[in-house]
């Protein structure tokens, strides 16, 4: 085992291979508060990549309802239970609070003979992709009506491969069949080298590697790399009707650039957080946590920054740069490397420095007449 630095943990940790960061790291921010679990992302991925024999059960992208939704069944609970209770500490460093993970990662907690602490789902575990859908955390009494704050809570968690900086799938493969591309940090599984041992399936804590029983190899999300190579966002991003997703590139904290959308949300505003950072993989899909879930639940899922992230998001309307950037989500198929606000407008700029999209801070209000004179028809407005 080598010693590597994991900035999400605020400390060094053990990993199978030495630290070797890519030239650029693919990353994404998902705004959970905007997700309606329509599964359009799931279908966009499914029809693009996993419509073959043996791929029937695979969902490289899925959306599950928390707290009772899982795909595969109890993927997070099983590992949290194995990992047992762990803790974070906070200390001052150069005038700012730094969170440090005091517990063990899944690499450090690996049992003898294993590279990673993990578990392999059975086929039955994949049989209930909609389990817990729209289930509240608790019961709602008969006769209850909508209140704020809500009487009870749930939220939707859209998930893809996290293209981790320290992938457990990669470290677990005894054949070195999984690799991280130096040019963009996308984690791929070499279909010509895999022999279907399923070590990666057991090791990935997010359970985003799947065994194909009809080809005998394992398969995973490829971040739509043919699109990324052409400056375009992946299918699950551009088909999202809730416009909750933004793809881009993340820097390490010390190299964060304020005009980089992902850096700004993750490192500068700290409004977007990694999923289960305590596992130790430095995952690269970041979530703006939901406003209405209990802080303790969010801390477990997104780490110690969850409460501050919720506060920042609640105040986004008063922060024109932040709210402007949030308006760029889902505004273009192209990958935005930089953003710039000028007055009431925010621009998205691509890798070549060209402005590819411009959106207003506030959409103009348009009041449409009930009667359309042009078409001589009365329109019905939906509520």
């Amino acid at each position: 085992m080598a010693r590597v630095y994991n900035w999400q943990l605020g400390r060094e940790m053990s990993y199978w291979y030495p630290e070797n960061r890519p030239q650029k790291q693919f990353a994404a921010v998902f705004d959970i508060n905007k997700c309606i679990a329509c599964q359009t992302c799931t279908l966009a991925c499914k029809t693009t990549w996993t419509s073959g024999k043996g791929q029937e059960y695979m969902l490289w992208n899925n959306v599950e309802t928390k707290p009772y939704g899982f795909y595969p069944l109890a993927w997070d609970l099983k590992l949290l239970e194995k990992l047992e209770g762990q803790s974070w500490s906070q200390r001052e460093y150069e005038g700012r609070a730094v969170n440090t993970y005091e517990g063990r990662t899944i690499f450090e907690a690996a049992p003898p003979g294993e590279r990673v602490l993990g578990w392999k789902p059975d086929d039955q575990d994949y049989s209930y992709p909609n389990v817990g859908e729209d289930d509240c955390a608790g019961e709602i009494e008969k006769g209850a009506s909508l209140q704020v704050p809500h009487l009870n809570w749930f939220f939707y968690l859209a998930r893809i491969c996290n293209h981790c900086s320290y992938p457990a799938c990669l470290s677990s493969c005894p054949r070195g069949s999984i690799y991280k591309r130096p040019e963009d940090g996308i984690v791929l599984l070499d279909q010509s080298r895999c022999r279907g041992y399923q070590e990666c399936v057991g090791a990935c804590p997010y359970k985003k590697v799947f065994f194909n029983p009809m080809t005998g190899t394992s398969e995973k999300c490829i971040a739509c790399f043919p699109k990324i190579e052409n400056g375009l966002q992946p299918q699950c991003f551009v088909n999202c009707i809730g416009k909750i997703r933004l793809a881009g590139w993340i820097s390490t904290p010390e190299k964060a650039r304020p005009d980089n959308p992902i850096d700004y949300l993750v490192h500068i505003k700290k409004v977007a957080l990694p999923l289960f950072p305590q596992f130790g993989l430095e995952p690269n899909v970041y979530y703006i946590p939901p406003l209405h879930a209990p802080a303790s639940f969010l801390r477990q899922m997104f780490g110690p920054g969850a409460e501050d992230a919720v506060k920042t998001y609640r105040a986004a309307a008063q922060d024109q740069d932040l709210s402007g950037l949030l308006g760029l989500f889902g505004s273009t198929e192209m990958v935005i490397s930089r953003f710039r606000r000028q007055g009431d407008w925010v621009s998205g700029i691509n890798e070549s420095g060209a402005e590819v999209v411009r959106v207003p801070l506030k959409e103009p209000v348009v009041i449409r007449a009930a009667f359309d004179k042009l078409h001589q028809i009365t329109r019905t407005n939906c509520p």
């Binding site: 419509s51 392999k120 059975d122 279909q191 080298r193 022999r195 399923q198 009809m214 005998g216």
Partner: protein
């Protein structure tokens, strides 16, 4: 008292060997002795095997490299060998109460392998899949490949009999059945097949020839020359693997052979296996 027990133990063992060799059972040997014959049998039930002596080899855990097998399963295997001077046939038998021949998520298949040094030399490669510069040759048999050879349908319904699939893109009415366009579409959704690495499905042989120069280096040989046939027995598996004689292994010569067994029910796969070290292999003149 203790010393006395030790001194009689070899006598008891020797007596057991003699008794077994006097009865109807096979002649037991301390090494794998390849009987010389005009032809090599492929069928595990071929009567030719009755003439060959049998070697019982205990299996040990693969617990040297991660991921390891930490809990023992198959205790031992029985081996017989017959050679015709060009090929050598091994019949391997091991106990296994469950037949595991359908791969799936967390479902692993029964398998076995024979390993020999690529060349018969004074210095022997490491028994753990060879070492850099000292290649080992491996012939690998799998129960699901055997099932395919025996006629099992290559369909998701072989694993899930009640599976219902709405639609595959390559089944679209616009694509003529069996056309190049349809094949191309089907391959698009089977990436391993597209790069010639389909690990399951329709096969003509249950055996694959492999090369290795240490753990994690396993690669397919340019061509598979080995043949094989596996049968389910009351006790477990009986598998014959026929392969070309290693270079330099003439009649009367000695070399080494190693074995491995994977118990699918025990989730054994890849490095998680029961194995032997090098076992002496003697070619009868």
């Amino acid at each position: 008292m203790c010393t006395h027990t030790r001194s009689i133990a070899p006598i008891i063992l020797l007596s057991l060997v003699l008794v077994s060799s006097c009865g109807r059972g096979p002649v037991m040997t301390t090494e794998v002795v390849a009987l010389s014959a005009a032809s090599v049998p492929l069928d595990p039930n071929d009567r030719a095997w009755d003439n060959a002596s049998e070697h019982l080899e205990p299996l040990v855990l693969q617990d040297l490299v991660d991921p390891r097998l930490t809990e023992a399963s198959t205790p031992s295997l029985r081996v017989r060998a017959i050679t015709n001077g060009e090929e050598i046939a091994f019949r391997i038998e091991w106990p296994d109460t469950t037949k595991d021949d359908l791969p799936g998520p967390s479902h692993f298949v029964d398998a076995c392998a024979i390993q020999t040094p690529a060349a018969v030399e004074a210095t022997v490669p490491a028994p753990q899949m060879g070492e850099v510069g000292k290649t080992v040759e491996i012939a690998y048999w799998r129960a699901d490949w055997q099932a395919s050879v025996d006629g099992r349908e290559d369909s998701i319904r072989s694993t899930y009999p009640n599976a219902s699939v709405d639609h595959y893109p390559f089944d679209a009415p616009s694509l003529e059945t069996g056309s190049e366009a349809q094949k191309e579409m089907a391959t698009r959704y089977a990436p391993a097949a597209a790069v010639g690495n389909r690990r399951v499905g329709k096969r003509e042989s249950p055996v694959e020839d492999l090369l290795a120069e240490g753990p994690g280096t396993l690669s397919r040989a340019a061509q598979t020359h080995s043949r094989g046939k596996g049968l389910r027995t009351e006790a477990g598996w009986s598998v014959v693997i026929v392969r070309p004689i290693p270079i330099g292994l003439a009649p009367g010569a000695r070399s080494q052979v190693a074995f491995a067994v994977w118990e699918g029910e025990h989730r054994e796969v890849g490095a998680r296996k029961m194995r032997t070290g090098w076992v002496p292999l003697v070619m009868v003149k």
